[in-house]
Structure formats: structure tokens, C-alpha cells
């Protein structure tokens, strides 16, 4: 959409979000608590972090929460009554400050969650959430979104897109809903001029040159011949089976389902699960097609960098680097994959 662009003064952002929060939107923002940056619901007076490194817990927690209720049931006589749990988002919500990589991660999850059957819980939260994305000015130590084509800029799939260009944010409009949001608080927005647009381009260019890590994506096709590479075993030997790389990945969407019954009432809920965990594929009789950790290690990497792409036409990795950040034994995804595919 070739729309007008705007600017917002950095000092006005908190008040702007405060006003949006009053306009029937739930607003989620990056903020600092206990020393770390987290996404949290906006409250008056809350500090909104603008030049944050990406929060470790990805925004998928607002679309596919770590635990989410699916079905409520009540045991009755020889049977039960069941209904859809009302955990889904029925009001409009604004997610401010989400990074381009994480927007791409949501685009990834959209694909399986619309494949053959709709996952209404996820899709409703997606439909009801406005994406107010913000490009990064400082890539983190393990970031490689640029290699994956998921950053530092974002082409679409946002309602508004912000870029910090100094003392103000440059605002691109992606949808009518995004524009409506501006119209609810016009006093905070100025029309951007050519100088601002130039500043934005310069900023993005500057960031592009800041990445310390690059995944040699051109050579990813080689993976299919590297199934027996000894490096996989080296990684598996080191892995301490925490599951963190799965849990913290913004595009990992696998889940477990469990029932919990309190008296006669119960809830069937799903929670984050991971292919790195041994029980993930173990069948009731005990047979497990991916018993060895090295088989699970390969599943994770091949799913991220080959299988998903073969099925859906894009990689299931957005280059956010969180799996490396969160890995207790520092298995660096970029280093190891580059080693396996003979990349730079």
C-alpha cells in the first residue's frame, strides 16, 4: 500500500500507547522488568523499551500461549458435556514493538495452522491482533535474520511499521486498520518528509552491515546429502536435553495436549512441546522412532531448514538467534550449520 508515512516523537510513544490502550485495545509492549526485556500488557506509567534487544520469550506466547485451554468438560453420569474453552482473544489487541523476524515467525505458524484444518484458537488471536512492528537498530550477537530474508526490514504483514531514526520513530502504514489507529490519535503523528524517509533508508542500510553472523543460505540445499555428517553427533553429545531451543523458538509450534480434572470439571489444554524431547515421538507401547538424541537433533534442524520449506515454500527459521541464546551449552546454530554445509 503506497500510503503516506508519518513520524512520532520518541518522547510521545508512551502517551500514544496509553491513548490506544484506552480505545478498547489491549496493548502489549516490550518493557524492562527485573533487569530483562519482556513483552507485557501496557499499564499507565510503564516504561516502553524502544531500542531493545529482542525479548528472549518470543511474541508467539500471545498467539500460542505456553499453556492454552482448548476444551472445558464436565463429567456427567456415564458421559460428559464439553464446550470450547473461552481462552481465546475476543477483543482487539495491539502488539507494539514486535521485530520483523518475529512477524515472519508468525507467518510461518500461519501456514500449518491453516493447512487442511483451521486452528481457530490461534487464528482468532492472529486476526484480532494488530501488528505494530519495529525494525531493529542493533542486531544481537546471535542474530542472522538478514541471512534468512526476515530482516532487518519488513515488507508486509504489519499494520504499522516503526523505525527509530534518532529522536523520532518513522511510521509506515501497512493496512487500513493501521491507518485507523493513527486516526484515533492524530495529535501524536506528523507527516513524514523526504528527509525522514532518507533517514529511515540509511538506518536500515546501517543495520544490514552490523550482523556478526551469517548463515550461508545459498548452500542449504546441501543439507539433504548431509544426513550422516558426524557433526550432528557432536551436537547431540553436547546437548543437555532442556528443550529450550524448541520452547523459545518463535516459529516452533508443536504442542502437547493433556486433560486436567478437578472433581467433575476438567479442562483439556495444550502446552508447548518440542521435538528435542525424547517422549515427543514415543508411542504408547514404548517404541520410539527417534530414540537417540542425534535423531531428534536432525529432526529439529531439517524441519527448520529443509522439510518445512519443501512443504510450505519458506524456511521455518527466521534467524532470530534465540535458540543459540537460550542453549545452556552454547550450541551455535549458525556455526554448526555452516560447518555442515561447508558454508562461510
Amino acid at each position: 500500500m503506497a500510503e503516506k508515512a508519518y513520524t512520532v516523537k520518541l518522547g510521545d510513544v508512551s502517551r500514544l500507547l496509553g491513548k490506544i490502550a484506552k480505545e478498547k485495545y489491549d496493548v502489549i509492549v516490550p518493557t524492562t522488568q527485573d533487569g530483562d526485556v519482556l513483552y507485557l500488557p501496557f499499564k499507565d506509567g510503564m516504561g516502553v523499551v524502544m531500542d531493545h534487544g529482542n525479548p528472549l520469550t518470543p511474541p508467539k506466547e500471545f498467539f500460542l500461549p505456553q499453556t492454552d485451554e482448548l476444551v472445558k468438560y464436565k463429567k456427567e453420569g456415564k458421559g460428559f458435556k464439553a464446550e470450547v474453552a473461552k481462552s481465546s482473544l475476543d477483543c482487539k489487541r495491539v502488539l507494539f514493538g514486535i521485530r520483523p523476524c518475529d512477524v515472519h515467525a508468525l507467518m510461518c505458524i500461519d501456514l500449518p495452522f491453516k493447512d487442511t484444518y483451521d486452528d481457530s484458537y490461534y487464528l482468532q488471536k492472529r486476526a484480532n491482533t494488530l501488528i505494530l512492528a519495529m525494525t531493529c537498530n542493533e542486531p544481537g550477537d546471535n542474530c542472522f535474520c538478514a541471512s534468512m530474508g526476515c530482516g532487518p526490514d519488513l515488507d508486509d504483514n504489519y499494520d504499522l511499521l516503526f523505525t527509530n531514526i534518532g529522536d523520532m520513530l518513522y511510521v509506515k502504514v501497512g493496512t487500513d486498520e493501521g491507518k485507523n489507529l493513527i486516526d484515533t490519535a492524530p495529535e501524536f503523528f506528523d507527516e513524514a518528509d523526504k528527509k525522514d524517509a532518507k533517514a529511515r533508508s540509511a538506518k536500515i542500510k546501517e543495520v544490514e552491515n552490523k550482523f556478526k553472523r551469517k548463515l550461508d543460505t545459498k548452500k542449504l540445499g546441501r543439507l539433504k546429502d548431509k544426513f550422516d555428517d558426524p557433526t550432528w553427533q557432536e551436537m547431540a553429545d553436547r546437548c543437555i536435553k532442556c528443550g529450550g531451543c524448541n520452547y523459545i523458538c518463535p516459529s516452533c509450534y508443536c504442542f502437547n495436549v493433556v486433560d486436567r480434572t478437578y472433581g467433575d470439571d476438567g479442562v483439556r489444554e495444550r502446552s508447548w512441546d518440542g521435538c528435542m524431547l525424547e517422549g515427543f515421538t514415543r508411542m504408547a507401547g514404548g517404541a520410539n522412532p527417534r530414540q537417540a538424541n542425534v535423531e531428534r537433533m536432525k529432526q529439529r534442524y531439517y524441519h527448520k531448514l529443509q522439510y518445512f520449506n519443501d512443504r510450505y515454500g519458506r524456511h521455518l527459521c527466521v534467524g532470530c538467534g534465540r535458540c543459540t541464546d537460550v542453549c545452556p551449552v552454547e550450541i551455535n546454530m549458525v556455526d554448526y550449520v555452516n560447518k555442515i554445509i561447508g558454508g562461510a
Partner: protein
Amino acid sequence: MASEYLPKQAEILSVKKETADTSRFRMKFVDPADREAFEYQPGQFVEISVMGAGEVPISITSSPLIDKGYFELCIRDTGKVTREIHKLGEGDIVGIRGPYGNSFDIKSMQGKEVLFVVGGLGLAPLRPVINGVVASRDEYKGVKILYGARTPGDMLFNEDLDEWSKIDGVEVLTTVDRADDSWKGNVGVVPKLFEKTEIEPKKTVAVICGPGIMIKFVMKDLLGMGFKEKDIWLTMERHMKCGIGKCGHCNIGTKYVCIDGPVFTFDQIKDLPDPY
């Protein structure tokens, strides 16, 4: 909000004990509208749940052609949920979602001989396929059913095996891993039955279901005989949760067993890592 995860209520009409740990549950949906909407094909499965214990995928063992107004699941007591199901009886209500998954295209097998190679509980999902084929017996060149179980007591669907063997042009061969005094038949693993019959690979379609280890050996033998990859059908078992391609548990390579399968031809899965 509509939800594909919401189970529908089905009432257990009867429970027939097949073996010491396996029973056949006949059930029908409580709501007539659900009954009406439930159309399935041989090879498909449902998610059955007992509230509080959880949900498991079970293939449908009844035949849409024969069994009207109800459906049947053959369930072995192996885990948390199936243990609870086995405590249920006539009149109890379970949750059902589905049918899910793809099915056997038995029309495409017409004109050929159909060779069923089956181990243990694998007969449950293939039973409606066999019934479908023998119902139009004349459309097929012949039918062979090679079935193996651990012990004579572990044989499922004995009446069906009897019935099928009486049909002209249907050959039924059985074997057990471990015989007892009553057993007069073959002893040994399923692939050993290949020696007992004539197979013309070029004119035959093979349909396989059984434990992973059996599939591995059978596959090797069939390919060795000269079967075309496209002519080997199998139905696969994986740990599953959602049944609708979301939860990721049954993912192998580019496939989800729940929505792309559970029925595959060998050429579709041969390149997948560790498929069984």
C-alpha cells in the same frame, strides 16, 4: 468459536473381547446429526477420548459398506488412555473427533491381485480394506491375506479370517511367533509366509500394516521380489495428539502422518528419515 478440537459424544453399544488385551468397541454418535455427518473410508482414524485421561488416535475397523448406523474401533490396552477405555462398557459415553487422515484407494487396485501382509493389531485398520475388496471380489484378480500374531491367543478377528478364507479366490495364511499346544499352523515371522504362496509382483498390489520391525523386513522382501514402489501400500503408526496436522508429533520429513497419511505408497515415504 468453532473448534476442531471439540469432541462429539458417542455411546458404546457393545464391547467384544478379541484377545486378552484387545477389544472391539462398537459405538454410535449420541446426536443424530453427528451420526449423519460421519462418513469415513477404509484406512481413516478417529481421535477417541476419555475425559480426564486424554485422547488417542485409533483407526476405524468397521466398514462403511457393511456397518450402518455404528462404527467400530479395535483397541489394545497399552497406555494411559486405552487403559481407561478398557474400563468402559455398554452405555458409556466417549468423545470422538474425526474421521481424520486419508484412505486406501481400493478402486485403483482393481484388476490386480491384492496381497495383504499384516502383523498383530495391524489387522484392525486393514479389516475395512479387506472387506471393501472382497465385497467386489470379481473386480480384483485375487486376494491373499498373510497374517501373523505373537501367539495363537493374539489373533484378531478369527471369525472374519474364517469367512474370508471361504470366499472363492481369497487365500488366507496365518502364522504365529510362538505356538502353543492347540496351534497346528505355521510358526515364524510374517515374511516367512511368502514361501507358502505364489506371488506375481507385476500383477499384484501389496497392502501392509504391522509393527515397524515387520514392515522393515516385509518391505525388503517385496522390493526384492520386484514390486513397484507405487504398488506397495502401507498405513503408518506414529505418536499423535491433534490428528489435524498442527501438534507436530507425527511429522516425518515433509509429511504429517495424520493429514497426509496414515496411508502411503512406498514411493511417497521411501526418502523420509526413519519412517518406521
